[in-house]
């Protein structure tokens, strides 16, 4: 079991408030990702759950039990740090076993658990090495091994993949997700990378400036962002957002349309009733083969980014017409909130 509940959790450092009352319910076995720009308080929130920081207000409950004032080790959670934080003077075996040793577990049980974790993580051949003799990906796996042997109620990951190169990151992303599904242990994962968030999460928590902006499944956030910030943050390339007469005409203060929902047509186009069509000039075209990214300068709107599947023969300076999918327009009011 590992149900983590936050009730009005706040955190201040001296006079600066960094978490403004977070309410959150993390269901048992769920993979929850905290995502947001740097400085949004996602790591602080994770450290509050871990117990590495004291909360300034509110309560944290694990399985309904108040753990707000409990020491980190007593909360039954384990954490994977950004720098891995392996103990450099100990072998991989002792690194993984350290937490169990501290819990005064019998030797035979420790050995069994270490062997089991090493088996899952392909570390069996490296058990007698020191962390300094391992590659980045192996160190990462040791850090995860150290977390899983304690059989915790929940895992806390603090940007664990940000020190790996791009290819390894994709591989570890899959491994971590698969492992979590296999163990069915609650996981809270912090990242600033929205692709990581979209691919790994059962549920995403978007944070900005110490506030929870929206909670939902990846597709909910993609299809129905609650406000302008979430709309701009989730999705890659990011959503086109603009104000002005065109937005007004569609009954919104800010209008948003994702690049993949813009059709690019060379030259002028015939516009059907009730549809929008925006003519402009291509200022940049990126040909990836599988996709074409076209940046179009539209008078009265600004620069719009369009993503077309397959190769599209357009060049810089061409005149094109952008046809938005009218069902996929996102309308936001003056408070930047999504309109029904």
């Amino acid at each position: 079991m590992g149900r983590i509940t936050l009730e009005g959790v706040t955190k201040s450092f001296d006079d600066t408030k960094v978490i403004h009352g977070a309410d959150l319910e993390i269901e048992d076995g769920k993979f929850v990702v905290f995502v947001g720009p740097s400085g949004c308080g996602k790591t602080t929130l994770l450290r509050l759950i871990a117990g590495l920081e004291d909360v300034s207000g509110g309560r944290i409950l694990i399985d309904g039990k108040d753990v707000t004032r409990l020491a980190p080790a007593k909360r039954g959670l384990s954490m994977v740090f950004q720098s891995y934080a392996l103990y450099p003077h100990m072998s991989v075996r002792r690194n993984i076993a350290f937490g169990l040793k501290m819990a005064r577990m019998p030797k035979s049980e420790i050995e069994r658990r270490v062997a089991h974790a090493a088996g899952i993580l392909n570390l069996t051949d490296y058990l007698d090495r020191r962390p300094g003799q391992l590659s980045g990906g192996q160190r990462q796996r040791v850090a995860i091994g150290r977390a899983i042997v304690r059989e915790p109620k929940g895992f806390l990951f603090d940007e664990p993949l940000s020190n790996l190169d791009a290819a390894l990151r994709v591989q570890m992303r899959l491994e971590v997700t698969r492992l979590q599904k296999q163990l069915k242990t609650t996981a809270v994962y912090v990242t600033h990378d929205q692709v990581e968030a979209m691919t790994m999460a059962d549920e995403i928590v978007v944070l900005q400036a110490g506030r929870i902006e929206q909670v939902g499944t990846p597709l909910e956030l993609y299809e129905r962002p609650a406000n302008v910030f979430v709309a701009g943050f989730i999705g890659s390339p990011r959503m086109n957002l603009f104000e002005g007469p065109v937005a007004k005409r569609n009954g919104a203060t800010t209008l948003g349309v994702r690049p993949e929902h813009l059709r690019v047509q060379p030259g002028d186009a015939v516009v059907a009733d009730g549809c929008e069509a925006w003519g402009g000039t291509v200022i940049q075209a990126e040909h990836l083969g599988s996709d074409t990214f076209v940046y179009v300068d539209v008078p009265g709107i600004g620069t719009l980014d369009a993503r077309c599947t397959g190769e599209l023969r357009v060049q810089v300076g061409d005149t094109v017409t952008l046809l938005p999918d009218m069902h996929q327009l996102h309308r936001f009011d003056a408070q930047q909130l999504a309109m029904a």
Binding site: A73, L77, S78, A85, Y87, H89, F98, M102
Partner: protein, 289 residues
């Protein structure tokens, strides 16, 4: 920097300094070796060849063995004190306390006081049995003041030298503590390690290397402690605080026997090298990885 060309050039360019250093070392050593084979007394203008006579004389001197022992006791005790209290004080200073910078500066200050000066301060201001601060403290509790340099001469010397070298250990260990990875500490916290577990499993292994450096460097300097002894006890009472360096000095400049002093000097060089080899064996392992 790996082509043959650059290696050759590098060798030529560093040659002058290496040759200078070599001469700097070899000439005095050769002269000492030469003097050690002579009957050479400053009161007697006639010198003659003595062979190994000076060595025989120096080694059979009863003061030699006791000076060797005194040297070991002095070096060992000061090393133990500065390692143990060094770690303790460094741990304290690493905490966030008010006025930390001032406290640090004051703690490091003794290292910058000349040995002669600090020995004089200890002798006249602190350990003087009549007017010293310690005597006053003893009397405050109704005790008879200790006459430090008569009753416990070796302990007094050890205290003075340790007082001088403790800051060095603190300085090195404190810098090492500040480079201790914070996330490792937090990981240990999550693993349920208490303060003692964290100290013995994380902090102490982290300090192994700086401790080795402290021991190595301090040993080199402690083998040749002289000023503190000269100023306070003059090697006495008897030969109780005469270490090897002081014995050689008394041989040369109190008994004017340059030959025997040179022989003693060379014996000291050999002994110091033996100590160095052992130290490098034991301590060097920590420096490798």
């Amino acid at each position: 920097m790996a082509t043959q060309q650059t290696q050759k050039l590098a060798r030529i360019l560093i040659a002058p300094s290496i040759i200078l250093l070599l001469l700097w070392m070899i000439v005095p050593l050769a002269m000492t070796a030469w003097f050690s084979a002579l009957n050479y007394n400053l009161l007697n203008s006639v010198t003659s060849f003595a062979g190994l006579g000076n060595y025989r004389y120096f080694l059979s001197n009863p003061a030699f063995l006791s000076s060797l022992l005194n040297t070991l006791v002095l070096v060992g005790s000061v090393l133990a004190i500065s390692a143990f209290f060094g770690v303790l004080i460094a741990l304290l200073l690493d905490q966030v306390i008010v006025g930390r910078r001032v406290v640090r500066l004051m703690l490091i200050a003794p290292f910058f006081v000349m040995p002669t000066v600090s020995a004089l301060i200890w002798k006249n201001l602190l350990m003087n049995p009549v007017s010293g601060l310690l005597a006053w403290l003893w009397r405050l509790f109704g005790l008879t003041p200790v006459d430090w340099f008569t009753q416990v001469p070796m302990l007094s010397i050890i205290l003075i030298v340790a007082w001088q070298w403790l800051p060095f250990a603190v300085l090195i260990l404190l810098t090492a503590l500040q480079s201790l990875d914070q996330e490792q500490q937090e990981a240990a916290l999550m693993d349920g390690a208490g303060a003692f577990d964290r100290f013995f499993h994380l902090t102490l292994p982290h300090l192994a290397r700086p401790l080795s450096i402290v021991i190595l460097i301090e040993t080199i300097f402690l083998l040749t402690v002289f000023a503190e002894i000269y100023v306070t006890t003059g090697g006495g009472p008897g030969v109780e605080t005469t270490n090897l360096a002081y014995l050689i000095y008394s041989q040369a400049l109190l008994q004017y026997d340059v030959g025997a002093a040179s022989a003693g000097g060379l014996i000291a060089v050999v002994l110091a090298n033996i100590a160095a080899i052992f130290l490098m064996r034991i301590v060097g392992k920590n420096l490798e990885t």
